[in-house]
């Protein structure tokens, strides 16, 4: 076996390294690091890491936003690893720990020293500093500080990433518009290109989830239908990647979500774009779009695995978890997994957008609150839990007043502290408008109290606040 084979294999097992590190830290919280229970776990950890340190010279485990990276390669993991990963993210962030670098051959004693320092730092007002100091003499281990979002944003790379996210988002919307126009005029649709568009979104969700989710929170674009399709696709893929779906499945889901409302092309535009509420007849017409969606997809694609999934979702996305929605069916069936995911994304995006249902867009937190009431009836309760974990209690775009009398927009959710997002302050505590600055609500004062908390949420639409201007 050559060196490359070793590297490939160990990287494949990177999730096991994270898993084992979580095991060690948890065990060390109960026992002394010298206890056999801990040392056995350490030995297993060393057995996993040392071959990689040997071939790579150095092994850097880094926390970047919500993900771990091993020598700059993001570690992917399936759902069963989620609790351990979340635990480790939390423990790192509690201490402001951004990275651990392992050098040379790792020894059990070094790991024991690390665990002692790690446990002690939890109760320190300056945990990272304590940890770094304690590890000064441990040659094979080094630690790095967690980078703050505002630091990242200031960099040129940060704004380049934002530009890229924005470009991908608009590519997707413009592609969707093109596809719908082609379907309307019976032209052939290039699915290879659709896949590429979705791949680009999936990549961004894997790397820059919060930025792309931020794009979905901007609801004031004229062409609602196309933006809605893309938003539902993004929200669905983001949710599904948390559920541990494979990349291939994420593409399929993203594509399927993009076409979930395709049946609406058969609803007359004067009905679809009506500025007043629907009459009963119009409602009945709108309720036909799921079956028209099946028709449009199957006529466009014929039958293949993706078309089958897309047709199923087009038919079911308004049926609801308890089948109280539409269309009503004669013979019982189980709701498709994708339909449940897309139904959640669809409801959330529709509720927080103008021109659907009651035509009054809801602030994101209110929409979430309403969806919580529907969890278990209209919505799958377990998937909803994942959804709220993804989007946060105060989703991106929520207008919030802080207890510091600062007014701001939720800029990025925090997947660990769900009710403590990052906020872009647009009016400071003195009531002055300025350039805007980002604050992290998970930040604490030396006395352990949070520096800022949300006290009120408001409707950004009521004040016609251009989210695009702030969140781009």
């Amino acid at each position: 076996m050559d060196g490359s084979e070793v590297k490939g294999e160990v990287f494949t097992e990177a999730k096991d390294i994270i898993n084992q590190l979580a095991v060690i830290i948890r065990t060390a919280a109960i026992h002394d690091p010298g206890n056999i229970a801990v040392t056995t776990a350490i030995d297993k950890f060393i057995a996993l890491t040392n071959p990689l340190i040997l071939s790579e010279r150095e092994l850097a485990l880094e926390l970047g936003r919500e993900f771990f990276y091993l020598n700059e390669i993001r570690i992917r993991y399936s759902l069963e690893y989620l609790p351990k990963f979340d635990f480790l993210v939390l423990e790192f962030r509690k201490r402001g720990l951004g990275s651990i670098v392992f050098r040379d051959a790792l020894k059990s004693e070094d790991m024991q020293s690390f665990l002692r320092a790690f446990t002690a730092s939890a109760s320190s007002p300056e945990p990272f500093e304590l940890l770094a100091e304690e590890l000064t003499d441990v040659g094979s281990l080094g630690v790095g500080k967690l980078r703050k979002i505002r630091d990242e944003e200031k960099t040129e790379g940060g704004s380049a990433v934002r530009r890229m996210v924005k470009k991908s988002y608009f590519n997707a919307v413009s592609y969707t518009r093109g596809v719908i126009s082609k379907i309307k005029s019976d032209e052939k649709v290039n699915i290879k290109k659709a896949k590429r568009v979705v791949e680009s979104m999936v990549d961004l969700i894997l790397e820059e989830e919060q930025l792309l989710l931020g794009m979905t929170s901007i609801k004031d674009y004229d062409e609602y239908t196309y933006h809605h399709s893309v938003n539902v696709s993004i929200l669905s893929v983001a949710l599904a990647q948390r559920l541990g779906l494979s990349k291939r499945a994420l593409i399929e889901l993203g594509l399927v979500a993009l076409f979930h409302d395709i049946g609406k092309i058969d609803i007359p535009s004067e009905v679809l774009n009506k500025s007043t509420s629907f009459t009963d007849d119009e409602w009945n017409l709108v309720k036909k779009h799921p079956k028209w969606g099946v028709r449009a997809i199957l006529k466009m694609r014929g039958i293949d695995a993706t078309a089958v999934r897309a047709a199923i979702v087009a038919f079911e996305h308004h049926m609801y978890y308890d089948f109280s929605g539409y269309p009503k069916i004669k013979e019982p069936m189980e709701l498709d997994f994708y339909s449940k995911i897309i139904s959640l994304a669809d409801q959330y995006d529709a509720m927080t957008s103008a021109r659907v249902y009651s035509r009054i867009p809801m602030p994101p937190d209110r929409a979430l609150s309403l969806m919580m009431e529907r969890a278990g009836t209209q919505l799958d309760p377990i998937l909803f839990k994942f959804f709220i974990n993804m989007i946060g209690v105060f989703p991106v775009g929520t207008l919030v007043m802080l207890d510091t009398r600062e007014l701001g927009l939720v800029y990025q959710s925090d997947t660990v502290f769900l009710d403590r997002p990052k906020v872009l302050v647009i009016i400071n505590s003195k009531g002055e408008r300025g350039e805007g600055y980002i604050v992290e609500l998970s930040e604490k004062a030396p006395d352990g109290k949070f520096l800022r908390s949300i006290v009120k949420t408001m409707d950004p639409n009521k004040y016609r606040i251009n989210l695009a201007e702030y969140l781009r």
């Binding site: 490939g8 590519n171 541990g244 099946v294 199923i312 209690v393 007043m401």
Partner: protein, 547 residues
């Protein structure tokens, strides 16, 4: 010079990739050439990595560059590896030093996919993306995905136009002091039970979804409001059947058909729905559907006999003609056997349609149709089969004669008698065997008539033997008497030919196990004719020991 050496090594990698692309298309994975190609190509990569840690190809339409050196150029469209990458917007590809043998194999597989097939929705970039190589990185021109260059700026401008001025923001700030406090959204943590439930759901989700779509199409049929919607539902069901057959899944097709039959039988179901379901049943017999069935049968996929029989039972007589067409095209014996069985079953519904196959230009198809007509067992088939005894191909004539024998209706006798005058011995003996199958008195008398003809004695021994063997099927006195008489018969002239006849009679008595013939047989044992002695000896042995 190191620079020149590494460029040379990069060029060799490209050449190795081109060669491997061809080899991968020619040889299966089990072929030693396949493994050798991987090893040879990987050696070229290793050679390059001796100079540098990363190999980057910059891709232009007809060229590949390493650094600024052109290392590949091909102005043709065919087998142009640069164009192959370029057309899918790949602009740069980098292989890192850790590029493993397994990664190379997967990369070569991606290179050799037939991207022109319509059913394939993936391009090179999608496959590279899905494979998620650890040591292959690439750069794609995202402009490929941009449908409308100005879309982004227009959309952003529209939003800006709608935005508020600063006053509204200030108002929001003022209002915030009077708004009610945050509505509590309790954070419910994910439990292990939740995770298990989702894992289980993901596992379940891997199952085939076609059945689910079928259920939906039936719901659409129930909810259809006009002719076009009914027709759409039928069309979709047909497409799913087609899709299932194409994927070797007759079970799903059968589920649709069973459901269609069940729904058709519901008394309150709309007539339009019944009509559209009839369209589904008719579809099964269309050329396209039968052609697909042919491909499935020939693919080597094992098809359960019960499943096949049930599927055939749903077919209507319109399937006969297309089945005859594919019968001559199928390559495997089990496939032809299945089609023949289907035609035997369908032929009973329309023997006329089946008989049309007798005019097929392919002799082997005609022979199969004759066999099928024989198995259908309908007396009406005789009229069609009678014509086949004059077919230009002897193999067809033989099969026709055999089938006539199996039918055994009176109308076949003149034709079979006529066959005795055929110049081909195979036809004459086939006619004899056919008459033997009929085993009627008329058949016997036709045979005896032929055997008592003065010319019969002059026929070849093997033909005579065949006739006597056929005669052994009638174990009555007429036959025994005829045989004893033949065995006793002495001749002064053409004695050898007469002895051949006697030997055949002995052989026939032996086959019949006639003990009354033993004294005569023992007497004939002393004959000077060796052939006669041998046959008599065998006959005695057979009668005495039953073998």
């Amino acid at each position: 010079m190191e620079l020149l050496d590494d460029i040379k090594a990069a060029r060799e990698v490209v050449q190795a990739l081109l060669k491997a692309k061809k080899t991968f298309r020619m040889y299966p994975e089990t072929n030693p050439m396949y493994a050798k190609t991987i090893e040879d190509t990987h050696a070229k990569f290793r050679n390059f990595f001796d100079y540098r840690d990363e190999l980057t190809f910059k891709i232009k339409q007809n060229e590949l560059f390493c650094d600024s050196e052109q290392i590949y150029y091909n102005p043709e469209k065919e087998d142009n590896i640069a164009l192959f990458f370029f057309k899918d917007a790949l602009r740069e590809i980098t292989f890192k030093k850790g590029f493993s043998v397994k990664e190379l194999e997967d990369f070569l597989k991606i290179l050799t996919v037939d991207y022109d097939r319509e059913v394939l929705d993936d391009d090179v970039v999608t496959l590279l993306w899905e494979r998620d190589f650890q040591n292959v990185k690439y750069v794609v021109d995202e402009a490929f995905l941009t449908e409308d260059e100005d879309y982004e700026s227009e959309a952003v401008r529209e939003v800006k136009d709608k935005a508020s001025d600063g006053d509204e923001l200030t108002k929001a700030y003022e209002d915030s002091f009077t708004e009610e406090g945050v509505k509590d959204i309790s954070i419910v943590p994910l439990t292990d039970k939740d995770l298990h439930a989702v894992v289980k759901e993901i596992e379940k989700d891997a199952q085939d979804k076609t059945g689910k779509l079928v259920a939906i199409i039936f719901e659409m049929l129930y909810q259809a409001e006009n002719k076009s919607e009914y027709e759409d539902a039928a069309h979709f069901l047909n497409s799913i059947i087609e899709f299932s057959i194409r994927h070797g899944d007759l079970d799903t097709a059968l589920k649709i058909l069973r459901k269609a039959r069940e729904v058709s039988g519901i008394p309150l179901i709309a007539d339009e729905a019944k009509k559209s379901l009839n369209m589904v049943f008719s579809f099964l017999g269309y050329d396209a559907a039968i052609k697909l069935i042919g491909e499935l049968l020939d693919s080597g996929v094992e098809i359960n006999e019960k499943v096949w029989d049930e599927y055939v039972a749903f077919l209507d007589k319109n399937a006969i003609e297309p089945f005859i067409t594919i019968l001559g095209e199928l390559k495997s014996i089990p496939a032809r056997k299945n089609v023949i069985n289907a035609l035997i079953s369908l032929g009973r519904k329309d023997i006329q349609a089946l008989a049309k196959g007798l005019y097929d230009s392919r002799w082997y198809v005609v022979r199969n149709i004759i066999y099928i007509l024989g198995k259908v067992g309908d007396k009406a088939a005789a009229d069609y089969l009678l014509k086949t005894v004059n077919h230009s191909d002897i193999r067809v004539r033989k099969e026709g004669i055999k089938a006539l024998g199996e039918l055994g209706v009176p109308g076949v006798f003149p034709a079979l008698r006529e066959c005795f005058n055929d110049p081909e011995v195979q036809i004459r003996t086939a006619a004899a065997r056919a008459l033997g199958n009929i085993r009627s008195t008329t058949a016997k008398s036709i045979i005896l008539q032929r055997m008592t003809d003065a010319a019969f004695v002059k026929t070849e021994f093997s033909e005579k033997k065949e006739f006597y063997e056929v005669l052994s099927k009638w174990k009555d006195n007429d036959v025994v008497e005829f045989l004893m008489k033949t065995l006793r018969k002495k001749a002064f002239f053409k004695r050898a030919l007469n002895d051949e006849n006697r030997a055949c009679a002995a052989y026939c008595l032996g086959l019949m196990g006639n003990k009354d013939a033993l004294p005569l047989l023992h007497k004939a044992k002393e004959s000077k004719n060796k052939l006669l002695r041998e046959y008599v000896y065998s006959a005695i042995k057979r009668i005495d020991y039953g073998r």
